[in-house]
Amino acid sequence: MGKIKVVHYINQFYAGIGGEEMADHRPEAREGAMGPGLAIQAGFKDEAEIIATVICGDGYFGENLEDAKKEVLELIKQYNPDLVIAGPAFNAGRYGVAAGTVTEAVQNELGIPAVTGMYIENPGADMFKKSVYVVSTRNSAAGMRDAVSKLVPLALKVAKGEEIGSPEEEGYLERGIRKNYFTDKRGSERAVDMLVKKLAGEEFVTEFPMPNFDRVDPNPAIKDLSKATIAIVTSGGIVPHGNPDHIESSSAQKYGKYDIEGVDDLKEGEWETAHGGHDPVYANIDADRVIPVDVLREMEKEGKIGKLHRYYYSTVGNGTAVASSKKFSEEFSAEMKRDGVDAVILTST
């Protein structure tokens, strides 16, 4: 077998095309390796060669999943590669979804081996870790070297059809696959060993981790809208002008609670977004595009809804840890419940 031919998928940022203002960039292909592909290429040594890089803006991909997937696949297909690598996307949500979508489609629709990499809390990880190999990376590009050191050997093994070891050995996210193997100790003995360790307070490794399903059942519907108090919550980072609570533009450590009594319309210069994960221009010009205060106020006056709750809650959902957003939401949800909120409209950017 000659050199393994590789196509690499990256976003507009890693391609050096631009940041959020270029997130609408349409799919394109360029010859050779670029950006993080250079590090991956170095890792491949002579075994494989990145013959092309396919690039797509994260905004375009996220907003046109089906079309973007098709276009990217077409671009990849023309190079007839032996292997496709997407990312690593670290904790960039839209990039993770794009990289996962591409990896899965390449594997299932083109029948070409593919791998990607991202941080475990990236929404793309939960979406795709069962269907494809997702190398577990750190949450920012500072972990590039580490990510590449896991991606390269796994990608080569996948491309050559070699046996893939366990998630711990290879550094990918658990896929929920059980594998039979021969062992010299029978089950009852292993179970007793585990139990003894557990009783002694020692660490033990289960052979069958329980899947973690955290689902909440839907609450009953609102019976009478005209009597209901509706509150707004957003991860789109809408704040009063000047961001008085200094909510961080990414990895937010706090949320804000803002009074909108008497506010009929969110005007430019009075309200803005603190979100650093997408182009803020549209929200800064008219924050109603993210939280619909104008429309809900109108419907309140018309008697369609009982009341727009006096406060809205806002944080920035950009690389923000799941544990943080869970904590914020627990706090303000309990508060809303106490304040008699009947229903919530939660908007995300």
Partner: protein, 79 residues
Amino acid sequence: MVKEVERAGIPVVHMCTVVPISLTVGANRIVPAIAIPHPLGDPKLDPKEEKALRRKLVERALEALTTEVTEQTVFDVKK
């Protein structure tokens, strides 16, 4: 966040652009939105049309809140 609101006993509708993410995070009532940087607006429209579009999306969200659901449900907005 959406799950914690629901857990607190308040019905919640998630308005967002990337529906698969919303499904993954466990929202039960979902209304697909317009675009990531402007989920409830479209700068290409004139202000009046834009507000009408936003009203349509919000009305759909309120419909979702008044509809009983037993599982994750996407409430599409007719174009």
